[in-house]
């Protein structure tokens, strides 16, 4: 017996399969739930519905009802309710489910409609797939294979439109490839709130344009490339670099801010070619900032730290330094809001073994109310949850340059949080600083203060602190390792290794485990499986969590112990601060 559907669900029949879906679902999404593909171009789940491509035409009908009794009419042949099929096809995107709705997606009428629309879309489309970057992820290619006729009857001249237009610093437009679906226009207007794109001219000569003199330059412009179903909008950076079918996809997280936008890393043979957003309806929908897409470029940069000696030799060196400064408080650990949860857990272990004070470097900037939050560390909450820190790091002073009168300029990121450490160094108390990837000078220590201490530096890139460090452990970037972050919503999300690290760089977890072992003379696990057993046992919020079972879109953890803390984030997509955001004063 089938249980009666819940009140907010409606039962529909798609290609003979019954399914209960929430009210307000459209036919495309309902069909997706029963693994039926309704091809479409203009429809996008996060944009308004315009119904202009006509690719999602389906046949629909409703159960026939006796006008007198209102009782459903039963077909005597099949014994099932008789369906009144609408004689003309309807758009799946614009048709919301209603109780008893019947849909056919493979009937001759639908097949004919799709073949017609496919042919129309192709007649003025250039046949340049061999040189088109979209090839391999082109909806026009895929759907012409799946739903087209496979031959052309068009012998006329194709329309001529502008080629290779730079719409902005990062997006290139080929108007001849454009199928006028208007997704990019709607995205710019509705999501990025930067209404610069539009169609000029009319009919088949309609042409996508950025307003002359303006640019599609907002920090979300590359999302138009992602949602362009064809090769009209391409990424200027990625253009002609690599065929997409050669690329491996690895799930990751945007580390720019505490939003934690879900991403995909596209790589081949150890080299990353691009980052794109990954859908997470609770975090970033299907979007990500352009700025986050640049982050992979530092992976290959010339200032990556490289090891000159063997890891164990350096661990021994560090152990010696730790032994010389064994009294409580003479070592300080500067943890990082950019470290993973697992790294922060081990950082805490290391600090405990060293009887060291712990602090975190804060990074605070201006949020954009979309996918850039004020907290530019991806994992401050991880440090709270693991207990690495018990209160939020202090917000740093505004950099000197920003104190000028110009209030309109982009608010620079304030890096800081080390005032207590600075005082302890000045007081001669702290002799050794272990920094987990944080440049102490950038975070507010003076050169003189830095000169007073011995620095053990774990990190990826060269900076003032690594240069001044006594011992350096080159470690891995987010693209080269596995781990988790806790974003501003207290959502635990994981990232995975996309490419191997450079020669001589060691996984942060291994370095931290070895240092902890050296400091405490007890072995410490460094693999995620073993570490998560420890973490689950010791961290209440993670008591029921295991790394292996963490879904790709993450899980929310209990945030109540931290509810009273003055977090810096204001409102962004899918995030409303519990308390008003901390205002930044100049």
């Amino acid at each position: 017996m089938i249980a009666p559907p819940k009140p907010d669900l409606v039962t529909v029949n798609i290609d003979g399969k019954e399914i209960a879906v929430p009210k307000g679902t459209n036919v495309i999404e309902a069909a997706r739930l029963v693994n039926v593909d309704v091809p479409h171009y203009c429809y996008h789940p996060k944009l308004t519905i315009v119904g202009n491509c006509r690719m999602c035409l389906i046949e629909m009908g409703m159960p026939a009802v006796d006008p007198a009794t209102k009782a459903p009419i039963i077909d005597p042949v099949t014994g099932k309710p008789k369906i009144n099929w609408i004689p003309r096809p309807q758009i799946g995107c614009g048709t919301n489910v209603s109780p008893g709705l019947h849909v056919k997606t493979t009937s001759p009428m639908v097949k004919d409609a799709r073949e017609g629309v496919m042919e129309f879309l192709l007649i003025n489309h250039p046949l340049d797939c061999p040189i088109c970057d979209q090839a391999g992820e082109c909806k026009l290619q895929e759907q012409s294979t799946g739903y087209g006729r496979g031959y052309s009857r068009f012998v006329e001249q194709k329309n001529v439109k502008p080629k290779r237009t730079q719409l902005g610093p990062r997006v290139t437009l080929d108007d001849e490839r454009c199928i006028l679906c208007s997704r990019c226009i709607r995205f710019s207007k509705e999501i990025a709130k930067d209404d610069v794109l539009g169609f000029v001219d009319r009919g088949s000569y309609s042409t996508l344009t950025c307003f002359p003199g303006k640019q599609l330059a907002n920090n979300y412009s590359l999302n138009t490339v992602d949602i362009c179903p064809v090769g009209a909008l391409t990424s200027t950076d990625f253009r002609f670099k690599m065929r997409v079918w050669f690329l491996k996809q690895t799930n990751s997280i945007d580390t720019e801010t505490s939003v934690g936008a879900n991403t995909v890393v596209w790589s081949r043979e150890g080299q990353i070619y691009r980052l794109t957003p990954r859908r997470n309806d609770d975090v970033n929908d299907t979007w990500m900032p352009d700025s986050g897409r640049e982050l992979f470029k530092s992976v290959m940069s010339a200032d990556r730290l490289a090891a000159t000696t063997h890891l164990d030799a350096r661990v021994a060196q560090a152990a010696e330094l730790f032994n010389l400064n064994a009294s409580a408080g003479s070592i300080a650990v500067v943890g990082s809001g950019r470290s993973s949860v697992e790294e922060q857990f081990l950082t805490k272990k290391l600090a405990a073994a060293l009887k060291a004070s712990t602090q975190l470097v804060s990074r605070v900037g201006q949020g954009d109310q979309l996918l850039i939050s004020a907290d530019r560390n991806p994992n401050v909450r991880g440090a709270l949850v693991t207990g690495l820190i018990s209160k939020l790091p202090k917000i740093g002073d505004a950099p000197a340059a920003s104190r000028s009168a110009n209030g309109d300029a982009a608010v620079p990121i304030r890096t800081g949080g080390l005032t207590d450490l600075a005082a302890s160094i000045d007081a001669g108390k702290v002799k050794v600083v272990v920094s987990i990837g944080e440049d102490l000078v950038a975070a507010g220590l003076t050169a003189a203060q830095l000169a007073k201490v011995s620095v053990v530096y774990l990190g990826t890139h060269a900076n003032t602190s690594s240069a001044a460090a006594k011992i350096v452990f080159p470690t891995l970037s987010v693209f080269e390792k596995n781990g988790t972050f806790v974003n501003q919503q207290f959502r635990l999300q994981k990232f995975a290794k996309a490419v191997p690290g450079p020669q001589g760089a060691t996984d942060d977890l291994i370095v931290l485990a070895k240092l902890t072992a050296a400091a405490s003379s007890a072995a410490m696990a460094s693999d995620l499986g073993s570490l998560w057993k420890l973490i689950s046992a010791e961290v209440p919020a993670f008591a029921t969590t295991s790394y292996a079972q963490l879904p790709e879109t993450g899980i929310l953890i209990d945030a109540t112990p931290f509810a009273a803390l003055p977090f810096v984030e204001g409102e962004t997509l899918h995030y409303k601060p519990a308390a008003p955001a901390v205002a930044l004063t100049p």
Binding site: G51, N52, F154, Y205
Partner: protein, 453 residues
């Protein structure tokens, strides 16, 4: 059988010597008396009269006006707008032009009665951009009516207020489509909206309930308010009540506009008697009965079937000349009465070239929003233009038909039908001419034939 006499209700004063378009002349002829009476009646009563009248919209679709008004969402609490569709743009149609230029107050009075009946506080007249004088005449007439208390605050001394503004289009056929018109009135490209959910009666102008009525329709409302819905049904034939204005153009001796009781005149009477028949030495070849999007009829073809006369079903066997010019009869023989634009073509016309002309129009006017219409209309134009000016192929007829068949029923608005019906019907009725065209175009053109594309 001799043609009936014209019954001029809407066009009563059109071309009347001495009749001018100012308020004084209108009032002298009894103008605004109906409005004065109407504003003292319960609005629901007026709506009922219109429902009773069976008045069908004169813009082209023939949708019952009373039903349209009945669909208006009156519970939303949002203002209700009325838009006069004066975008007259279906090729072959030129009736509203004369109402607006010569008898604007008739339209204003009909509009105000309709506004009062529907509790509309703001109306707009969307007039096509190519009628600048018409817009000025309407603006002046509205100003006069406003000064006289027929438009604006406290109409005819009542507490009811409603204003009218004239809004000019700028050369887009698609603004005749009511949701395209609404978009245009909102200051946007005239891209028609998807329905559902954007039915004007619920989510129209500014997402408020909106009534869009044709100029002629609103003039009929004035007549209905004056004489009652029942009286209106006495004019014309059942389900085709009132009068119809036929706009005859093309190859007849006396083209022009003629107002008859709906369904009381046949095509043959209209063309041969009223319009004087074909030009000297020519014979009729084809006629498009309801604006250029209506399916073409070929003289010589016959239509057979059964139709309802009173309560009985009777056989009919009609030639083109025998077809009564009403919505239902024209619909029965596979075309439509549409906007009343009758375009006549004689034996000098080559049908490939005529279709090329029509296709050029529709491809130029497609808004370009949805795929089948945008691409299909231009493709058909490219084919027919190539046939005329380039190489014509034997297989083009079949290709044209197939392209046209991929459009209707799959588009956002009825433009899909409008742009494909000509091709479908030309090929169906004159397929022979299309197949022979590669040969025909090598031969000399008939004397008197004009270049069409």
């Amino acid at each position: 059988m001799a043609a009936p006499a014209q019954r001029r209700i809407i066009f009563q004063h059109i071309d009347e010597p001495g009749y001018s378009n100012d308020l004084a002349c209108y009032v002298r002829n009894g103008g605004y008396e109906v409005l004065k009476k109407s504003v003292t009646r319960p609005p629901a009563e007026l709506i009922d009269e219109v429902k009773k009248s069976g008045l069908r919209g004169r813009g082209g679709a023939g949708f019952p006006c009373g039903v349209k008004w009945g669909l208006v969402d009156r519970k939303s609490g949002k203002p209700i707008y009325l838009i006069v569709n004066a975008d007259e743009s279906e090729p072959g149609t030129f009736k509203d032009r004369y109402i607006m230029h010569q008898d604007p107050h008739q339209l204003i009075e009909g509009t105000m009665i309709s506004c009062f009946a529907n509790n509309v506080k703001q109306a707009y007249i969307y007039i096509r951009g190519e009628m600048p004088h018409g817009a000025r005449i309407l603006e002046r007439a509205i100003a006069e009516a406003r000064a006289a208390g027929f438009v604006g605050k406290n109409i005819c001394g009542t507490t009811y207020s409603c204003d009218i503004f004239v809004h000019r289009g700028a050369g887009a056929y698609i603004c005749g489509e009511e949701t395209g018109l609404i978009e245009s009135l909102e200051g946007k490209r005239a891209n028609p909206r998807i329905k559902p959910p954007y039915f004007p009666a619920v989510l129209g102008l500014y997402q408020c309930p909106t009534i869009v009525n044709n100029v002629e329709t609103l003039c009929h409302v004035k007549y209905i308010a004056e004489h009652g819905g029942d009286a209106f049904t006495k004019i014309g034939t059942p389900n085709n009540t009132g009068t119809r204005i036929f706009c005859v153009s093309g190859h007849v001796q006396r083209p022009g506009y003629y107002e008859f009781e709906a369904g009381k005149i046949t095509m043959g009477q209209l063309l041969n008697e009223v319009c004087g028949g074909p030009l000297p030495g020519r014979t009729f070849k084809a006629v498009i009965p309801g604006g250029s999007s209506a399916k073409i009829l070929r003289f010589g073809e016959r239509f057979k079937g059964k139709r309802k006369v009173g309560a009985e079903m009777v056989d009919y066997d009609w030639g083109v000349d025998d077809v009564p010019m009403d919505f239902d009869s024209l619909g029965m023989i596979g075309t439509m009465g549409g906007s009343g634009g009758v375009i006549v073509m004689d034996d000098t016309v080559n049908m490939v070239e005529a279709l090329a002309n029509i296709n050029a129009f529709y491809s130029h006017e497609s808004c370009g929003q949805c795929t089948p219409c945008r691409e299909g209309s231009l493709w058909m134009k490219k084919i027919t233009t190539r046939m005329v000016h380039g190489q014509a192929r034997n297989e083009d007829a079949a290709l044209l038909k197939s392209v046209a068949d991929q459009i209707p029923g799959r588009t956002i608005c009825a433009f899909g039908e409008a742009c494909s019906w000509p091709t479908q019907s030309f090929i169906a009725k004159f397929g022979d001419e299309f197949k022979q065209y590669p040969e025909t175009k090598k031969a000399a053109k008939p004397v008197g034939a004009h270049e069409l594309v």
